[in-house]
Amino acid sequence: MIPVLPASAPATAPHTVTGSSVTRIMLILLATLVPATVYGFWLYGWPSIFLWIVTVLSALLGEAACLKMAGRRAMPSLLDGSALVTGWLLALSLPPWAPWWIGCIGGLFATILAKQVFGGLGYNLFNPAMVARVFLLISFPVQMTIWIAPMPITAPAALNFHDGLLVFIRGIPDLDAVTSASLLGFAKTELSRGIDLFHSLAASTAPVTTFSGNRTGSLGETAALLIAAGGLVLMAFRIISWHIPVAMLAGIAIPALIFNSIDPARYLDVSAHLLSGAAMLGAFYIATDYVTSPNTKYGQLVFGFGCGFLTYVIRTWGGYPEGVAFAVLLMNAVTPVIDRYLKPRILGRDWRGAPLDPAIEKAKS
């Protein structure tokens, strides 16, 4: 009997796999973002819809162009949905009435310089959406800090499609009529003017924190509860684990609680911190990015807590009113070190990797 050698490399075990795939994960993630996004659209009207479209398209374009240049097949990578997620999350973190070129530059920057130059999906070291957001914030501080008071798209005073397009392309004509400060920014400005929180928040111009999210901010921060609900769905699907979100929210809430109880005139309370800014978006969607967060449970707890704590530090003492993006980037930079030092224990070895003592194990019963 002559053995027949297989022509190519033999198929390897296991001969059965899960039904999960990268595309499926990304699609579920996007699906859970839909309610918050649609709510944001309703609050901020047509310009925000246009911004969302342009940002997402730019991200996809940047990805496709890079793949084309690298001579790789563009379709499988585009279809995995990761660029879509990046663009979408970036759009959610921009001021809703930002001009078109902000979205365009941001989308391209995110996929090209933060992701594809590192080798594409899985190799980027920083969260692409947050890199783009920080880059935009530093480069175009004026456009990136114009916040619009929410005005439901159905309201009579809201812009129609045509006017929305004009605002989107030419910029906002009458700034003072529509702008408003976000809570964190307002508190910071007033504090720097020497007005403590009791007085500044009591003023009629103060932004209000409501659970419905009907307040000033980016698309993704207004609907904090919808974002959190989406995050819970992700946990239910086991796409993200609880470690990072819980640790990050704790990282914000614990120092907020401590400092607020020490000096309520200077430090905002816990709910203000948790519900404003990108805390929820960051905790459930940004910090949980697989590629740029640690792999192990312990590492994720450290990472999440670090993100939250740095967010609080930057918000409270830093030069920027919002710190989620910076905090996530900083912790992204620490992730490889965390991964290196916080490894799970190998069965039959101690934490340092030395084999266990058989005598001790034998004595167990």
């Binding site: 027949v4 390897t12 990761s82 799970p344």
Partner: protein, 511 residues
């Protein structure tokens, strides 16, 4: 189960592993069928871990069923026996049940159809024998671990003798999907299995036996509980159904709470693990004198008409088995063993060996098709790894050629269970990376050993050359000395002769 109980159950459940679709039924529910005797059997000489057996029969020789045809060589080895009576028609290559498709040696027996067994002495009461005699009988029967590892059972018991064994763990986990040969032997031969377990306990001096059975086999648990009800030392322990519960270290940890240190054997912590089918074979060997010449094999898979378990002689070709159960369609992939760790075989002319738990004929829909994508670092592989490794990091290092980096991350602890490859949403063949790396490291190790041996040879040679040169010099010196001595002697002799002569002359003159 109440909510709180369920919660507690979840807490206690292992936090590793995966839950693949088990596909065990309907095959597991059909009673064991006996395969009609095939015309030819191909009995490989290497069916176990260790050195291959040495054939002791000649081509053309007639053999009886159960007759020894290959004797063990070396410390870790096992004999092979003729599975039926007939004539030896060839001793040579046959494709091994191995992913490489490379050949190995096998003895071909053409059956005479009589299935005539050789006469053997059966001990009247095996419990009257000494434990060593039991071990010897098990060794002579060629019994190896039938769970798939095929480590010679008697060697395992002998290794255990060095350290005191308290617990015999009997592995009825059978966590691999599709397979049900362990399930079936427990259902159909529960009493025999329990007897085998007791014999093994006696042979190794264990105080108790824990039979771990996954809780997805309620019938087997019930049957075994009934069979073991008179023997309090044999305890039936249902374990959560979770792959890879049937792996030694996981089962030991689940049943006893002991962790086997990574550089030790289970015996070092006072535990020995044996498969339920091994226990059944021990029973057959000690009560009926039947060596390991047949076993229960699961035939399953989407392409099979009548999936089920067959009692087949060792050496039967997979093709004969598939013919017996019938194929619905051309199978897309043939696998020996389960789908998680089984070996793909390139064709069906592969013999059943002692470690064959099953053959699967998988249909096109059952096998994975997705192309591997880039790793997105989701960490699923890390959370399912039963050992606590970081498969993604190890694979990335292997891919970049950094084998040492991979082995410092614990490559040698990997049991190749396949959980990581199974769960990977990017469908990266992680296990293949690890198999490749392990093979490569092993090859490096071999070449290092060889290099050391060569170095010793080189040193020896240098020493030899030096010695030879020295000896040569000495010999030359000796020869020179001898020559000189000879010369001197000659000269002396000459002188003496001359002297004598002169004396003689003188004498002569005198006289």
């Amino acid at each position: 189960m109440g909510l709180i109980e369920k919660f507690l159950h979840n807490l206690k459940a292992p936090h590793w592993g995966v839950h693949p679709d088990d596909h065990k039924r309907p095959a597991a529910d059909a009673p064991i069928r006996v395969l009609p005797l095939p015309a030819r059997l191909y009995v490989p000489l290497q069916q176990h871990v260790g050195q291959a057996a040495r054939p002791i029969v000649l081509v053309g020789q007639k053999v009886l069923k159960g007759q020894l045809i290959g004797e063990p060589q070396g410390r870790i080895s096992a004999p092979v026996h003729a599975p039926t009576s007939g004539t030896i028609t060839a001793i040579g290559d046959i494709t091994a049940p191995h992913a490489s498709g490379l050949p190995f040696d096998a003895i071909t027996i053409t059956s005479d159809g009589l299935d005539q067994a050789i006469e053997v002495d059966v001990p009247a009461d095996p419990f009257a024998l000494s434990p060593t005699e039991i071990t010897n009988l098990i060794a002579a029967a060629g019994i190896v671990g039938l769970g798939g590892a095929t480590f010679p059972a008697s060697v395992k018991m002998a290794l255990g003798k060095r350290s005191e064994i308290t617990t015999l763990i009997v592995n009825g986990g059978e966590c691999e999907p599709y397979l049900s040969c362990d399930d079936r032997v427990m259902r159909d031969h529960a009493a025999d299995v329990v007897d085998g377990v007791r014999l093994m306990m006696y042979g190794m001096g264990a105080k108790e036996a824990l039979v771990g059975i996954e809780d997805n086999k309620p019938e087997a648990i019930a049957a075994m509980r009934k069979a073991a009800s008179h023997f309090p030392k044999v305890k039936i322990r249902p374990v959560p159904a979770r792959y890879p519960m049937g792996s030694d270290r996981q089962l030991i940890q689940t049943l006893t709470g002991k962790e086997v240190p990574s550089d030790c054997r289970a015996a070092d912590v006072g535990v020995i693990v044996n498969n339920v089918n091994t226990a059944y074979c021990v029973h057959r060997a000690l009560r009926f004198g039947e060596p390991l010449i047949r076993r229960i094999v699961t035939i399953n898979g989407g392409a099979v008409w009548q999936p089920g378990n067959l009692m087949v002689p060792i050496g039967t070709l997979a093709a004969d088995l598939f013919e017996f159960v019938g194929l619905k369609s051309e199978p897309a992939r043939l696998v020996m063993g389960g789908p998680m760790m089984g070996t793909v075989i390139s064709h069906a002319n592969i013999p059943v060996v002692k470690g064959t738990s099953g053959f699967l004929a998988l249909s096109e829909e059952e096998i994975p098709h997705s192309e591997a994508g880039p790793c997105i670092r989701c960490g699923n592989c890390t959370s399912v790894c039963p050992i606590g490794l970081l498969p993604l990091e190890m694979a990335a290092r292997v891919r970049a050629g950094d084998l040492d980096g991979a082995s410092t991350m614990g490559l040698s602890d990997c049991i190749s269970c396949g959980c990581c490859s199974y769960i990977c949403p990017s469908h990266i063949p992680l296990v293949q990376y690890f198999s490749h790396a392990k093979g490569d490291l092993w090859a490096q190790e071999r070449s290092k050993l060889k290099m050391e041996a060569a170095k010793k040879l080189a040193v020896d040679r240098a020493a030899r050359l030096e010695r030879e040169a020295k000896e040569k010099a000495e010999a030359a010196a000796r020869r020179k000395a001898e020559r000189d001595a000879a010369k001197a002697a000659e000269a002396a002799a000459k002188a003496a002769a001359a002297a004598t002569e002169s004396t003689a002359t003188t004498t002569e003159t005198v006289s």
